[in-house]
């Protein structure tokens, strides 16, 4: 009896263990997301608090975005104010000191001779270091003085590997300089991998504020003056001086603003991660539902006995749900621990990449409570249906010996599935048709809703399809592996509901993988075809910091091998039709958008593309070229006048051409000269340089010469057309890899689901396994049968999932044609790879259940009750 009892305990562990694991994984994702957000939030809040210590700030009236990262990325709207305002402020008695915040992009060459960049994408920027700036504390050496000296923030000094006294190369304001590290200063907070270079104020102003305009001015109050009082006094002082367009904010207001900004960005990241956590939990729900469906079936007689001695259906129902609640709570608690482990590992990973984050891995009560509740709810909801079924089985029926033949009809489910899938398909088709009919406005959400409908419908239909689809998939096994194939086919089709819900877990992940792979391949193809047809320059020069230093542009232009240098410069401006600028209702026009300035003659020499109307050569005459999509949307046509407004100036110019360009992703294109009016610092914002070889120089020679000239700038890459295309493809691949990594968890859970179903069905089929072993089935044959079952389940889920994903993704190019998505590519190779992975997954999942089954002693199996 002891043996039986022990076996029961073990069987229970197996039954519930994998369900708990599924909850643990899903909840880990959830709690890890919360914890990561908390950690990032405290890191960035720390940066804000350390970086903005002034009591008041003076800045442009229109307001701008203020985060510490803004200084480094070119092209953002900065609200310049005169640096001289610092003196106005400092003249007040209530002001202790005030200084202009001078900042800008910089490149430091580290000890190893390469540019210091953050793998996590954190910026590298320079700050003017004033002696009385309280945000910085000198820890070693002395403050820099003059253009050939600089200091570094502590963590930056560490990541560059430089010591005080070392001389290295800087790229400051587009020029290469040799400078000596004179000191190291601490900002008192983790900087999340940002590289901070400190320059003396004169040098910084010369480079970053040559026109005397800075982003903001920091004002520190004298003792006893509150921030609000200070702001009032400053406003009076500014008014007295007659300075307009300058806004005064308290330090608190600015810090709150910056924090809100960070929180909303982190909120987006959090939501994004939680979507994937939700997918994992949804998938985990299938495992729990399956487990309870199977254990309930095995315990049917036990329930019948309970019912026979007077237990009500509700009591039976409750007893099962209690078990589910335990699974959920245990899984949730372990999941919290798992999430913390996950974040600890991530933190270590980030730190090894040079991105230091603040403090310990945080645990909040809210996170623990949410995790436990999530685990509990997922588990109880998943178990509710099987529990209800068990509770409603009449005792007499349950008492009956073997009752596997009582498969409930799938008709209701089939009809429901058809309706949902049909509605979903209808929505998708409607979206595609409307998009094809040029009515793209509301098709995105429609497509999304349709896609969800199709996926849910297919999940409902899965058991109905199972028998037919599995029959086809199993055919090669039945023919090739006798009798294993036939036995395996019988096992996976005997309970289509179970097989389908096991496969569904994989289906969801695979549908997303299929859709993502089609979208990625199509995006790559769309981009590369537009680049190949539109970018006709011989070489493309780009920068790791997204700004090509002006010095590099000049030097490259002077090379004898270079025939023509065309620069693509990015600026920002609000675009309105001339005369409507005052129209307050034109809400859409108030959002600034990116605009591009091109060297005269770029079209035809470095870029080409279909001109819908007008003539692109009119760019040289100070006219604008507008993209056809935005032209249609806003009703712009050749001859219309547009007004472009930025913080620095306003330009009104007629539209000279309507073009269809995917390479230049901005609504308005103009000449470089025109852009200078609204972006005085345009020369510092060259994003891309397009080069054409001089007559008689071949591209290889040109590339060698340009690469040589670009080398000292360390951040530049010189690409020919093929390299440019493959670089863009690689960027898409990076996104795809992140997506795959996030989906990987749901796939892992799906694998657990297959293991779970197989392990439970081995327990359920012990008698049958014993019988087959008694009539001569070898252990290997038995293991092979279970493996084939597993592979069939995995392949079923994968085939249906990929099919749904690919079909849905195929509808997208039509819907999103507007945004340059013009080619549909189905990556057959990649899909075949996924199928291969499914087979591998199947084999992997079968490993443990197969070994377990093969080890069952024949006699015990035959005689088991």
């Amino acid at each position: 009896m002891l043996r039986v009892a022990l076996r029961n305990v073990r069987a229970h562990l197996v039954r519930l263990g994998l369900s708990i694991l599924a909850v643990v994984l899903g909840v880990s994702f959830v709690s890890g997301t919360f914890s990561l957000r908390e950690m990032l939030s405290s890191t960035f809040t720390g940066i804000v608090d350390a970086g903005y210590q002034a009591d008041a700030y003076l800045r442009g009236a229109e307001g701008g975005t203020h985060t510490t990262q803004e200084g480094a990325s070119a092209g953002d709207v900065r609200t310049p104010v005169p640096a001289a305002l610092a003196e106005t402020a400092a003249a007040l008695d209530e002001v202790d000191h005030a200084f202009a915040d001078v900042t800008g992009p910089i490149v430091v060459v580290g000890e190893d001779g390469t540019a210091v960049t953050s793998a996590a994408g954190a910026p590298s920027f320079a700050l003017a270091w004033y002696a009385d700036d309280p945000t910085l504390t000198l820890t070693e050496g002395r403050a820099p003085s003059g253009a050939d000296e600089f200091a570094l923030e502590t963590a930056s000094a560490e990541s560059t590997g430089l010591d005080v006294g070392d001389t290295t190369t800087l790229v400051v304001g587009g020029q290469i300089t040799e400078a000596t590290l004179t000191g190291i200063a601490d900002m008192g907070t983790a900087l999340a991998g940002a590289t901070v270079v400190l320059l003396d104020p004169e040098t910084a102003t010369e480079v970053y504020a040559p026109d005397g305009l800075v982003e903001s001015v920091s004002v520190y109050a004298a003792a006893g003056v509150s921030e609000t009082e200070l702001v009032a006094l400053l406003d009076d002082a500014l008014a007295a001086e007659g300075t307009a367009g300058v806004e005064t904010v308290t330090g608190d207001a600015l810090r709150t603003e910056a924090r809100t900004d960070i929180e909303s960005q982190l909120g987006f990241v959090e939501t994004f991660l939680l979507v994937f956590a939700g997918i994992s939990l949804f998938v985990g729900g299938f495992i729990i539902a399956n487990t309870f469906a199977m254990t309930v079936r095995q315990r049917q007689r036990e329930f019948a006995l309970l019912r026979a001695v007077g237990a009500s259906p509700l009591q039976v129902f409750a007893s099962i749900l209690v078990q589910a609640a335990v699974v959920g709570l245990v899984g949730g608690a372990l999941g919290v621990a798992g999430g913390l482990g996950l974040v600890t590992a991530l933190k270590a990973l980030f730190e090894s990449m040079g991105m230091d984050l603040a403090g310990d891995v945080p645990v909040t009560t809210q996170m623990v409570v949410v995790s436990l509740v999530v685990g509990l709810v997922v588990s109880v909801v998943s178990a509710a249906l099987p529990a209800r079924r068990a509770a409603l089985v009449p005792p007499v029926e349950a008492m009956r010996d073997e009752s596997p033949g009582q498969a409930r009809s799938l008709r209701v489910r089939g009809v429901l599935g058809l309706v949902v899938a049909g509605a979903g398909t209808g929505a998708v088709v409607a979206a595609v048709v409307r998009a094809a009919g040029d009515d793209a406005a509301s098709t995105g959400p429609l497509l999304g809703a349709g896609a969800v409908g199709v996926v849910l419908g297919v999940l409902l239909l899965a058991p109905v399809m199972a028998r037919a689809v599995l029959g086809v998939l199993a055919a090669p096994f039945v023919l090739a592996l006798k009798p294993v194939g036939r036995l395996a086919r019988g096992n996976v089709t005997r309970n289509p509901r179970r097989t389908a819900s096991t496969a569904s877990a994989l289906m969801i992940g695979m549908a997303l993988v299929g859709a993502a792979s089609v979208l990625a391949a199509s995006t790559q193809a769309s981009l590369s075809s537009s680049i190949r047809s539109e970018a006709i320059a011989d070489l493309v020069v780009q920068s790791a910091t997204f700004v090509v230093p002006a010095g590099a542009v000049t030097e490259i232009g002077e090379l004898p091998e270079v025939g023509a240098v065309d620069t693509v410069t990015v600026g920002r401006a609000t675009i309105t039709e001339a005369g409507q600028a005052q129209d307050a209702d034109a809400a859409s026009a108030t959002e600034p958008s990116y605009v591009v300035g091109l060297t005269d003659g770029t079209f035809g020499r470095s870029l080409t593309g279909p001109t819908i109307d007008g003539d692109v050569d009119t760019l040289t005459d100070g006219m604008l070229a507008v993209r056809t999509d935005e032209a249609d949307e806003n009703g712009w046509a050749v001859g219309d006048e547009l007004t472009l407004t930025s913080q620095s100036g306003t330009v009104t110019a007629p539209v000279g051409a309507v073009i269809d360009s995917e390479t230049l992703g901005t609504p308005v294109v103009m000449s470089e000269d025109l852009l200078l009016v609204i972006e005085p610092k345009a020369q510092e914002q060259v994003e891309t340089v397009l080069l054409t070889a001089a007559d008689g120089v071949d591209v290889a020679d040109l590339k060698e010469a340009v690469t040589g000239a670009a080398a000292p700038y360390v951040i530049l890459t010189v690409l020919d057309e093929d390299e440019f295309v493959s670089q863009i493809a690689a960027e898409v691949d990076q996104v795809l890899v992140i997506l795959y990594a996030l989906l990987a968890l749901s796939i892992v859970i799906a694998i657990l689901g297959i293991v779970n179903t197989l392990a439970l069905s081995v327990i359920e089929r012990t008698r049958e396994i014993g019988l087959m072993r008694a009539v001569g089935l070898g252990r290997l044959q038995l293991a092979a049968t279970i493996t084939v079952e597993s592979v069939l389940t995995a392949v079923f889920g994968t085939v249906v999932g990929l099919g749904v994903g690919v079909a849905l993704a195929a509808g997208m190019p039509t819907v999103f044609a507007e945004v340059g998505f013009n080619t549909l590519v189905i990556p057959w190779g990649e899909l075949a790879l996924m199928l291969g992975i499914a087979v591998a997954v199947g084999v992997l999942a079968a490993l443990w259940p197969a070994v377990r089954a093969a080890r069952l002693p024949v006699l015990d199996a035959v005689t088991v009750d």
Binding site: K482, R486, M772, V775, L777, Q781
Partner: protein, 263 residues
């Protein structure tokens, strides 16, 4: 305990249960479950021979060791001591792999219940041992067996669509189709009504008489045992009696005398 024999043994001078031309035999067969004080001796040194081409029934009260004897003979259980030889092969010293092969090629099994794989049709269940062994199906033999069990019109049905008697007849056909050396039947009629029982038993007897099959059957039903050529009686792990050409009455008589002895 003294062996009781109510019918003269055909092989005078030998111990009950042993014959000369055996298809399966055991010598000094012992089986002990558990260890130390709680050890249970299921077989206490059994010497037994099952004759080729004979239908042998094994009877005895619960716990007499009759099932253990059959399991050890069939290689489903490993004896604690002693040897088992089936058709010249020493089963008791075989590895798991050899045992699997033995079951596949030399032995046929019929269990009391749960005899068929529910996902396979009757025909597929019958040929399962051949499929497992990847041996070609001798269609003429298959047809003969199917005809003998009277299932020709039921071959495409799944076990859940067959009555208990039909299921056991399918199991009989499966046990015979690979022409095993011995068929071991463990209470094959235990779950059947009397009509179905008679069908199954007379089929087993026919297979012995007409096809020359050797059959060993464990049963507790005197009527079932009376279909055999010979009945062996076990008690406390030893063979205590033997009846040849049994009738229900002669079997009952031995059983009652055995239980009197036990008292």
């Amino acid at each position: 305990m003294t062996p009781v024999s109510t019918a003269p043994s055909e092989q005078a001078g030998t111990a009950p249960g042993t014959t000369t031309s055996a298809i399966a035999s055991a010598r000094g067969l012992e089986k002990t479950y558990g260890k130390g004080g709680t050890a249970v001796r299921a077989l206490a040194g059994v010497d037994v021979d099952f004759a080729r081409g004979e239908f042998t029934a094994i009877m005895g009260p619960s716990g007499s060791g009759k099932s253990t004897l059959m399991h050890c003979m069939a290689g489903l259980d490993t004896p604690t001591a002693g040897t088992v030889v089936v058709d010249g092969l020493t089963v008791s010293s075989m590895s798991q792999r050899q045992l699997t092969k033995l079951r596949r090629t030399q032995l046929g099994f019929i269990f009391q219940a749960f005899n068929l794989v529910p996902t396979l049709t009757a025909a597929e269940n019958i040929t399962l041992p051949l499929d497992i062994a990847r041996k070609p199906v001798d269609q003429a033999h298959l047809a003969a067996v199917v005809k003998a069990v009277g299932l020709a019109d039921r071959l495409g049905h799944r076990p859940s669509e067959l009555s208990g008697g039909q299921q056991q007849r399918v199991a009989c056909a499966r046990a015979l189709v690979s022409r095993p050396s011995v068929v071991f039947a463990d209470e094959p009629t235990g779950n059947l009504d009397s009509t179905s029982s008679r069908e199954v038993l007379s089929f087993l007897r026919t297979s012995v008489d007409e096809l020359g099959q050797s059959v060993v059957m464990v049963t507790h039903d005197p009527v079932a045992a009376s279909h055999a050529h010979r009945v062996l009686f076990l008690a406390d792990g030893e063979i205590v009696a033997e009846v040849t050409q049994p009738t229900p009455d002669s079997v009952l008589e031995v059983l009652s005398s055995l239980s009197r002895q036990a008292l």
